[in-house]
């Protein structure tokens, strides 16, 4: 099947759903399932649309879609998670069906496209969907600020693209990669690269550019929390990762600055989480640190472990945000102390939350540990002892505040807290926790995927 459907059908459905608002959510589920079917049956390769030249080297302006293993993983994560979130919220947030469809279309496009300008377009589409999603928080000011930040980010990105276009006369990524490596003029591309990096960094929650996060995620709910912290973060990290690994050339000062930004993001993110007393803030700051680690791995060329980290992180953060947001919806307060004893009556939920948290901390028997150990090994192989030290220091802080959180949630405070979790929630939690647990103990498939990703990136480079 053609992967174009992944973009076209959700977009179409989004328009249709406006007409039949009542059934929007069911349509969403149907489209989600369809997308998964498309994913199963589609093949890797490049798709050309719009009747442009089909030789990739000559196709300078056309719209091309690239589906390789990397993208496939990303698409799986995004579509499945959106589907799951949609199913979970099918009753509570009926009105957001078309927005989720739009988000699905935008994110799929973002991941699939092989064209820098299209990337910007899809960035905007998915961005709009995200702004709309954040309206469900009922905090208009923070939504507005999110919009402003998004606008800045995408304009910086566009600016970078424009510069690149003016330099190389193409928007096709594959072509451009080849051009850049051919010209080998590093100083010229610093400006566009840093602009694009910052532009995407705003969306991927990299540290100095992400002031919107606190307002949006700090007040998130069952829908917007997992969507923005889980799905959007995963997608943006994938996109940024793709650009970082394939397009950007980080050398010299640029590398230093980017590494510094990321290191700052890791450390300060965890420090901020340590100093927070609100559960949602703790989670969001922790995810800031995580996304910095992910991009750091991309920068250091550890694509495969970055990908796994994205997936594992998206899954665990989805669970954690769902659990906490559901509870805060009832207590209307997300101070840690007011959520004391949350798991006393919800043992299963507590267990899954704990497993997710342990996975984030990187404790053994869970997938987080395997990933952490592997990327650290790879970093050590590359001789990056300082980076290891920073990551470990951050993980120390992270471990402390997460355990503090866990202990408080497991043991009763003064008052008895009862939060009802729907059966579907529990099923999702258990599924995710089991997958974290299973892959934590049985990591052979991960190692196998490792090899296939490497080959694909070679394909891209060779055309």
């Amino acid at each position: 099947m053609n992967v174009v459907f992944l973009i076209a059908i959700p977009l179409l459905a989004a328009f249709i759903s406006i007409l039949i608002k009542k059934y929007a959510s069911y349509l969403l589920v149907a489209v989600g399932l369809f997308n998964i079917a498309v994913l199963i049956f589609s093949k890797n390769g490049i798709v050309f649309i719009g009747g442009f030249d089909t030789t990739i080297s000559a196709n300078l302006l056309g719209i091309t879609l690239l589906l390789d293993t990397y993208t496939r993983i990303a698409l799986w994560v995004v579509n499945v998670l959106i589907l799951v979130i949609a199913v979970l919220n099918i009753k509570t947030y009926r009105d957001y069906g078309s927005i989720l469809l739009l988000a699905m279309a935008g994110l799929n496009g973002l991941l699939l496209t092989n064209d820098l300008f299209n990337l910007f377009v899809f960035l905007e589409i998915s961005g709009i969907a995200a702004y709309l999603l954040s309206t469900s928080n009922k905090k208009p000011v923070s939504t507005f600020r999110y919009l402003l930040y998004g606008a800045i980010g995408s304009s910086l990105f566009l600016f970078g693209v424009v510069i690149l276009y003016s330099m190389y006369g193409t928007l096709n990524m594959v072509v451009m990669i080849r051009e850049i490596s051919a010209s080998n003029n590093y100083t010229e591309v610093i400006l566009p690269f840093i602009l694009m990096f910052i532009g995407l960094g705003v969306e991927a929650k990299l540290l100095p550019f992400n002031a919107w996060v606190k307002g949006v995620l700090g007040n998130s709910n069952v829908l917007s929390g997992p969507m923005i912290a889980g799905v959007y973060m995963a997608a943006m990290s994938f996109v940024l990762g793709r650009l970082v690994t394939n397009l950007f050339v980080f050398e010299g000062t640029l590398l230093t600055v980017v590494t510094l930004i990321l290191v700052l993001g890791i450390v300060v993110g965890d420090l901020m989480a340590f100093s927070s007393s609100k559960v949602r803030e703790i989670l969001l700051f922790s995810s800031i640190a995580q996304s910095s680690i992910i991009i750091l791995l991309f920068v250091n060329g550890l694509t495969i472990w970055a990908v796994y980290l994205i997936v594992a992180n998206a899954l665990s953060k989805t669970v954690m945000f769902l659990v906490i947001n559901k509870a805060t919806a009832e207590t209307e307060n997300d101070e840690v102390d007011s959520l004391k004893g949350l798991f006393v009556h919800n043992n299963i939920v507590g267990l899954t939350f704990t497993l997710a948290a342990l996975s984030v901390m990187g404790l053994p028997l869970l997938v987080g540990f395997v990933i952490k150990l592997n990327y650290l090994t790879a970093l050590a192989g590359a001789g990056q002892i300082t980076l290891i030290a920073v990551i470990l220091l951050a993980s120390l802080i992270e471990g402390i505040y997460l355990v503090r959180l866990l202990v408080k949630l497991w043991y009763k405070g003064e008052k008895d807290l009862r939060v009802e979790y729907h059966f579907s929630f529990k099923m999702v939690f258990i599924a995710i926790a089991l997958s974290l647990l299973v892959f934590g103990n049985y990591s052979t498939p991960l190692n196998e995927l490792d090899n296939s990703i490497d080959t694909v990136s070679e394909v891209v480079n060779n055309g």
Binding site: L207, P208, T253, F274, A380, I385, S443
Partner: protein
């Protein structure tokens, strides 16, 4: 033949079964746990001494095992402590909040321990360490304080993070994760770095100064039957890492000629000495019996550090023997306190008194444990302290000597305090109804009592194992015969001492029995300068026992706690600063960041 892989998988499987059984009935689950641990202990003891354990791996991916005397020594000791403690479970688990998972986590942590001591790969070692940490981390908050778990986890994590960093430094410079190969290849500056990093890990796990404050908090607040495991077993993980760092790495640093010790090792010995002094002083001050014993564990950790940092086989023998003796003694003492706590519900010394009249066997267990802890013959602690003293004196380490002797004498003070105030003294009316611990709890008590004495009277059997380790580490073993240990500057015959001691007791007993029989009087019928006192609480000296001594260092005793509290506060403030800098509500701040980054970049490269 027992395969280590099988044992680990067996423990994991049994853990899950124990979870289900405990859910049905706590007693059944706990008894199943006892048998599980017993099976593991028996198989280890059967095959381990002869290094006959199969180490091939069939199922577990990416994990490899090998056996060494060093690992076996630690493993068998810790499994033994686990076995002893598991006898307490049927009587305690019902008290805890999440009792179903107690046995599961208990067995899982044991699996982690087996793996940790039998693996030959640093990454696996880290893997098993982390398993131990998080399984035990969930056991601890079931006790009195929830914050204890955070403190325990924080310091343990700091330790294992440091360990991991050290591992990667090793990998970076040698290219292998194999423990023996990589440590052999290590040299130069990276060796010093790894030495330091491993020592941080060891200090954190041992609870040595200055990474000690988690120890009393955790041990004092952990569930009663888990405190002996923490103190007798888990702290010894630090000893294991210390062995790796101090003996196996031994970076070539400047030597102290007068003492023939590398400067790094001397610093460790000094820190060990500080640990001893600090632990002793704090233990003297402490009012909670369990916290007191926790501080004593800290001070004994200092002895272990001192022993391993004096690079000769005498000291190593002392260190290893001390690990054994202290594990037995502290397990015995903690278990006695746990037995008291079970019937009285408190471990505060000032709330207890006269328990000997109701629990004489528990009292004896505690007495023998503390005699060993204080290093008095004829118990195991004496042998190890004697060996360590020999080494310290032989090297002429004066300042370490001050600490070592101070700790040795100070230990009389602190171990005596629970003895006097908790077991002896006036019998409180509120505890008149309590009974001696049930028979199942007395089994480990008796076993530990016996072993504490046996280690002190016939050390040869244990010295044989220890000599194997020392030879394995590349040093010559110490000389000993069945009865006599020869040190650098003297010989010791523990059996003779015990014999003479028995003769002395016999003579005293004969004198006693020949004389007129005493008139039995009530405890309250004591000299009161003629006043009539009817309330035994007024007549029981237990609060601020060493008040005149405590007064001398009252102000200084809070320094470390204050330091760590301030550190946590500072970290929080840094986080707040981060929030202020990067999470401001104003868009312009973000823009400022973006622009300054771009300008900085362009300034350097383009403009």
């Amino acid at each position: 033949m027992a395969s280590i892989e099988f044992l680990i998988l067996f423990l994991v499987g049994a853990g899950i079964i124990a979870y289900l059984l405990t859910k049905l009935n706590t007693i059944v689950g706990s008894i199943f746990t006892i048998f599980t641990v017993m099976f593991v202990f028996v198989s280890l003891a059967q095959y381990g001494f002869g290094m006959d354990i199969i180490t091939t791996v069939k199922i577990l991916p990416g994990i490899s095992f090998s056996q060494s005397y060093l690992g076996f020594y630690f493993a068998i000791l810790i499994v033994f402590i686990y076995l002893m403690v598991s006898f307490f479970h049927p009587y305690f688990i019902d008290k805890y909040k999440y009792k179903d998972s107690y046995n599961l986590l208990f067995l899982l942590s044991l699996a982690g321990i087996l793996g940790a001591f039998y693996t030959n790969n640093f990454l696996n070692l880290f893997f098993f360490f982390e398993i131990i940490i998080w399984t035990t981390m969930f056991l601890i908050p079931q006790g009195k304080s929830k914050e204890a778990a955070v403190s325990y986890f924080g310091f343990s994590l700091a330790g294992s993070v440091s360990l991991l960093l050290g591992v990667f430094v090793i990998f970076n410079s040698t290219g292998t994760f194999n423990i023996n190969d990589s440590l052999a290849l290590l040299s130069g500056n990276s060796a010093v770095l790894v030495f330091a990093l491993f020592l941080i890990a060891a200090f954190a796990k041992l609870g040595a100064f200055p990474l000690h404050i988690w120890l009393p908090i955790t041990h004092g607040n952990a569930p009663d039957p888990f405190s002996p495991v923490l103190s007798g077993a888990l702290v010894k993980l630090g000893g294991f890492i210390a062995v790796l760092a101090l003996i196996k790495i031994t970076p070539a640093t400047v030597m102290f000629r007068a003492m023939d010790i590398p400067i790094g090792h001397y610093l460790v010995a000094i820190l060990g000495g500080l640990t001893i002094v600090f632990g002793t002083l704090m233990a003297i001050k402490e009012d909670d019996a369990k916290k007191l014993l926790a501080y004593s564990s800290m001070s004994h950790g200092g002895y272990i550090l001192v022993a391993f940092s004096i690079l000769n086989s005498m000291a190593f023998a002392g260190g290893f023997y001390h690990i054994l003796a202290h594990a037995l003694a502290s397990a015995g003492a903690f278990m006695a306190i746990a037995a008291v706590s079970r019937v009285t519900g408190t471990t505060k010394i000032k709330e207890l008194g006269g328990m000997i009249h109701k629990m004489p066997i528990t009292y004896l267990a505690y007495l023998i444990a503390i005699i060993s802890m204080a290093g008095i013959p004829p118990m195991g602690g004496f042998i190890s302290k004697w060996l360590i003293f020999q080494a310290v004196i032989d090297k002429g380490m004066v300042f370490v000597g001050v600490a070592v002797f101070f700790g040795s004498v100070g230990s009389f003070l602190y171990v005596f305090r629970p003895l006097a105030a908790l077991f002896l003294g006036q019998e409180f009316t509120e505890y008149k109804h309590v009974k001696e611990a049930p028979i199942l709890m007395l089994i480990p008590t008796f076993v530990l009592m016996g072993l504490n004495i046996y280690t002190g009277v016939f050390p040869a059997a244990f010295l044989k194992v220890i000599n194997n380790i020392i030879v394995e580490l590349g040093y010559t073993g110490i000389t000993y015969t069945t009865y006599v240990i020869s040190g650098n500057n003297g010989v010791l015959n523990p059996a003779l001492i015990s014999l003479v001691f028995v003769v002395g007791i016999l003579i005293a007993f004969i004198i006693f029995i020949l004389l007129k029989k005493s008139r039995k009087v009530e405890l309250m019928d004591t000299y009161t300068a003629g006043n009539f006192i009817h309330d035994e609480h007024l007549f029981h000296y237990s609060t601020d026992f060493y008040a005149p001594l405590e007064r001398l260092y009252e102000k200084q005793s809070h320094w470390m706690t204050t330091f760590y509290r301030a550190l946590a506060e500072k970290v929080k403030e840094l986080g707040k600063l981060g929030k202020y800098l990067f999470m401001s509500k104003s868009l312009s701040v973000t823009l400022l960041w973006i622009i300054s980054i771009i300008i900085f970049l362009l300034w350097g490269e383009v403009l």
